[in-house]
Subunit: 700 residues, 2 copies
């Protein structure tokens, strides 16, 4: 459990300023540790008392008989730094600092916080906080918190929950408890002066008793750390579900490059973590719905959902939701339907959803038979059973679900609407996921199927990923070859991109009208002319582009017009000439770009061109580099992806070629560290491949 | 309460085949009526008993001393028709038929159901069912159901709930009860042999004790009835919230016309009910979230949301959701922020969301002060207070919320996560909406604001609506003027549309190349030629279109090519000539159409053209006719609506002109009853107006 083991699993805990009033902030942890049976040593420190409850109390940290693994600090802000120095001197290894009055109150607090961090570093202490509720390790009954959550039961379980917010985190933890979802860890990282969300999550996922990570975050500095965490979670096969707020505001953040301005940073976050196999929840309930399934169910082998219901309507609602989430609700095999027929009443349905009708109230056994049959269908990978109320039949039903669970190799979820409390308790004790409504149940099933697929894909893509990294770490010959900062000339940029496998339109620089005519003849008509100037980044804005030129006269005339236009619009621009390139056609127009994200570093973006990107913001992001397989997933995420399959009589495009181009661009970005911005817009894609038609490359 | 009063509020109830076993289907209603204190007369009918419990039992319906208002029928299917005839003879006015074995089991059942319906009609009986759970009128303690829901308390309240599904409806009713949401009516309409969802909802909304309608539907035959219900609900100022399943499947239904094939019937339903002011819920919880707010809160005067929270993160999550739903979260007035400063701790926030921080746990009064100040801000129309747990402070907090409610003229919603049960009960008893999570709370606030806006708009648009109806009921001179069925010739269709105020491109029919040249000269170059043939509905598919013709030669040549192309592709087509029209330009391309929906009759569709409609299915529907204001709302619903505001340097289009065109098209359709299909595709819109460039009009 790396270097946070003293923080997360201390064998001894000192409580500075411990109070005998167990309702106070510095009395509560003491009470919790005693009540919940912490097995380690507890050292209250307070000169006012000789003892507190059954414990001896010490006048100072120096009086404590050993160097405690963890100290709980709830002193006023201005005393915290000194306290940490004292703790360090005594050899204490870590501290939880509840105290507020730091960065959250403004500049004065920030100064104080810097002092506290420096003191902790100097003292070699790992620090949780300041301004945090503290932490719980429920396995080992470490209750180093004053939060309301600990007032109730804190049973251990396979879920680790780490939260940047104290208040919201407490609410989420309480909701998890109501579901019988045991939180092995509850950690509130507060101001993250030292340990942060990523560090804590990495440590707790390493605990073999944890099988699922759940997190609530508001902001993230260490994007690279998050990606390392994601990789670790995938390697361990432990799903990680995050709620991050700020979905809509992020758009307001300034973005440097052109492509960056199209998508807010939250979209970057969303795409990047998806690429890392992290599951994003839209709110607290959604997160817990998914966590409940992930903690209780095995992973399905595919996306086939079998639905058993006593209400046709609920079945339709679940089928609706399944379609929205990309799950299949396949019509069951004829053999399966045949087997169901003696079980399901005549006016029920055997197709899928399977409707056992109200008859099931009289004969609850129907449900077990039906579920066993449905789960045996080869197209079905995960099941949902929908029922409601049934106050009078709780024991029978619980027993039945237990039997199904014992027998079935495939996972299933119970959706029990308005369930009696004892039913929920009994099912959860038996490790059966039980959700409150039809949509949450399908959301949870989709999380199971989606995570299973992501992990399979991650395992399958391992070699390709390793190859990428090798590739990305070997920059090309060109990288040091004398380009200054700013925009790279078009022809040089093309050569450089080609070297990475990015196909670009053929281009020639022409310094005179006659050179342009010669270039056009060499490239083949019709051609386009585009101004070439280091000062002109957006060529159409200065009327620096002429298209569809079909003969030498047109080229000559266009050359003069383009040069004149640019001189008029940008009198100071140094004009190198014009770029001549053949006119190309594609079935679909894309935009591919690289940008430097302040959190994640270099990210690659892909989207459909034109209104898709400008109006609909239909783009996908990933941390660069990406494998072609992962790039293909980016395309799958686009709302307008049907364009790539051919619409209005157009041919389908070569998606693999587009994916390879995206991957190649991402490798370029990962290797060429001087790159500031790269924007291929448009990229034309057709049945025969994908080619960049215009590009802007800017170096630092 | 019209002609369903005997069904919904009977003064006397006969129970055919009543059982003394109160666990049986025909024993349960008797038990419920007795237990819950029905004040009318109860007449058990069963020759097997002299009495059941405290009641005399009658050997037959004829032996009952009066003609009961309502009879409960739970006989086997084959005996139901005769029973209804007997009831009719005795003068009984209505019946609830629980019995199943009718249309739901297939053809044999359908025949039996037709017999039952005929028997009821002949007997002058209103019939609920067959195959239904029955109904509850909780105000008058009419419990004519055998459903599980009646096993618990069924307190009366301002919500009427009507459901087509028995099982799902029971679940929803049970969830409503858990929220303390009183259902004045619970009616399951089952197979709807006679009374249907619409009829029941119309009747119960007329009850002054009902303020909100909630419904669950799976399918609807009487779309016009639903629209009449919507109008009634708006006139009464009683919001109507519906859950309809089948959101994604509907796309599979065959649609006759071209535009119809682009949007499934569920999209039609969605647009049409929105136009009728009905609120659609996506699932049962979402419906109850909105109903809870609508039943407890006054209507806000605008879309300004004030958020008070003890967690910054929850505030961000609510702001995210508010933005998604089109609510404003305005920065509070400087004066409001000034007033908040002494109340909110220094490290809290006063902008909006207002964060009172964890300090509120020590000083709960903060919350009351802050809420009163926020609600007094002129930009704020509805408030949400977010808190969590607070087990120890329930009484204080409940008292506080009660004070806020007493004092505030503006509505507010409490979002109390992981709330103690007694807090929920106490708040609901006091008529305070309290929701379980941040997103549901914002959903509910958005429903309040949205409904308020819809109703204000409906009141304001009253005269325009009345004018439309007058207009629509006076068909034009042209309607009888000799067009046979099938496609109307282009020029005639244009004249006809123009008469209704629909602007079309100028068109002339040319029967020869020379006529085409003359027409082009008259219309002005460049022009387009399009084949004119009653057999050719899709002109580009037969290469029957030539665009951008700039001179007489080009026109002559194109004429020959177009005619030859069509003769090759469609040798049997009668060719009338070609249509000549000037080439037009627009900043945005739209599609406007009319189609006959099997449920709602004539509906008008509007969408953005090209990939928006073909790939993204970005269209809006309304029942025709619509006012220009309502047509403007259709444009507001388009995901790509930003196109209309001008993108890529284009000028914004005249939205009012587009809305007028849509309204004019809808009036055309409403008046011209022979119309089968009308498709304007494309319509070009620009800063100076909107004009149809191509149109296809088909008559019956």
């Amino acid at each position: 459990m790396n270097d946070l083991r003293f923080l997360l699993n201390p064998k001894s805990i000192a409580i500075l300023g411990a109070s005998s009033d167990f309702t106070k902030i510095n009395g509560r942890p003491l009470k919790y540790l005693l009540d919940k049976g912490y097995a380690g040593k507890i050292y209250p420190v307070n000169p006012k008392y000789r003892e507190i409850g059954p414990l001896q109390c010490y006048a100072s940290i120096d009086a404590v008989p050993e160097a405690a693994d963890l100290a709980v600090v709830a002193l006023p802000a201005q005393f915290v730094a000194q306290a940490l120095r004292d703790l360090g001197r005594r050899g204490v290894k870590s501290a939880v600092v509840f105290s507020s009055g730091f960065a959250e109150i403004g500049e004065a607090g920030r100064a104080l916080e810097r002092e506290v961090i420096a003191a902790a570093q100097a003292a070699g202490l790992r620090l949780c906080g300041p301004n945090c509720l503290g932490l719980i390790n429920a396995f080992d009954r470490v209750i180093a918190t004053f939060g309301q959550f600990a007032d109730g039961e804190t049973p251990a379980g396979p879920v680790a929950f780490v939260t940047q917010s104290g208040a919201f985190g407490t609410a989420i933890a309480a909701l998890a408890r109501r579901r019988g979802l045991g939180l092995g860890y509850f950690v509130n990282t507060g101001n993250e002066g030292d340990v942060d969300f990523v560090g804590v999550m990495r440590a707790v996922l390493d605990d073999a008793r944890i099988t699922v990570g759940a997190g609530y975050i508001e902001g993230l500095k260490d994007g690279r750390g998050l990606m390392a965490l994601a990789e670790q979670a995938l390697a361990l096969g432990k799903p990680l579900v995050l709620t991050k707020v700020g979905r809509t505001r992020a758009g307001a953040r300034a973005a440097v490059s052109h492509t960056g301005s199209l998508a807010g940073a939250d979209e970057v976050f969303d795409g990047v973590i998806r690429g890392g196999g992290i599951i994003r929840a839209r709110n607290e309930e959604h997160m817990l719905d998914m966590v409940e399934a992930l903690a209780n169910c095995s992973l399905p082998g595919g996306r086939g959902l079998g639905i058993i219901t006593q209400s046709g309507g609920a079945g339709v609602l679940m089928a609706d939701r399944a379609e929205e989430l990309g799950l299949n609700v396949p019509v069951l095999d004829p053999a399966t339907q045949q087997a169901l027929r003696p079980v399901v009443p005549g006016f029920g349905a055997t197709g899928n959803p399977v409707d056992v009708t109200g008859q099931f109230i009289a004969e609850p056994g129907l449900l077990r038979e039906a579920m066993n049959i449905v789960l045996s269908d080869p197209q079905i990978h995960v099941g949902i059973i929908w029922l409601q109320l049934m106050e009078a039949h709780v024991d029978t039903l619980v027993g039945m679900f237990e039997e199904i669970k014992a027998r079935a190799a495939k996972p299933f979820i119970v959706c029990w609407v308005a369930a009696p409390d004892q039913a929920l308790r009994a099912l959860r004790e038996r490790g059966i996921a039980v959700l409150r409504g039809a949509e949450p149940a399908v959301d949870a099933a989709a999380a199971l199927a989606g995570y299973a697929e992501v992990r399979r894909g991650w395992l399958a893509d391992k070699e390709a990923r390793a190859a990428l990294i090798t590739h990305a770490s070997s920059p090309s010959r060109l990288s040091g070859s004398g380009h200054g900062g700013g925009a790279v000339p078009t022809v040089a940029a093309a050569q450089w991109l080609n070297e990475y496998g990015v196909t670009t339109a053929r281009v020639q620089l022409a310094r005179s009208a006659e050179e342009a005519v010669m270039a056009a003849a060499a490239l083949g008509y019709p051609v386009a002319l585009k101004i070439e100037s280091p000062e002109v980044l957006h060529k159409t804005e200065v009327q620096g582009v002429a298209l569809q030129l079909t003969d030498a006269d047109a080229v000559r005339q266009a050359f003069a017009v383009v040069i004149a236009n640019v001189k008029r619009h940008e009198p100071r621009a140094r004009i190198e000439g014009v770029i001549v390139q053949p006119m190309l056609q594609g079935e679909a127009e894309l935009v591919v770009g690289l940008q430097n994200d302040p959190v994640f570093g270099l990210v690659v973006m892909a989207g459909l061109g034109g209104i898709h990107i400008e109006v609909l913001k239909d783009v996908a992001f990933r941390k660069a580099p990406v494998t072609p397989t992962e790039a293909g997933r980016m395309l799958d995420e686009l709302r307008g992806r049907a364009i790539l399959d051919g619409v209005r009589g157009r041919a389908p495009v070569d998606r693999a070629a587009v994916a390879r181009l995206i991957s190649a661009v991402s490798c370029f970005g990962a290797a060429e560290t001087r790159l500031k911005e790269l924007d291929l817009n448009p990229v034309f894609a057709g049945p025969d491949g994908a080619v960049a038609v215009d590009w802007l490359m800017v170096l630092d």
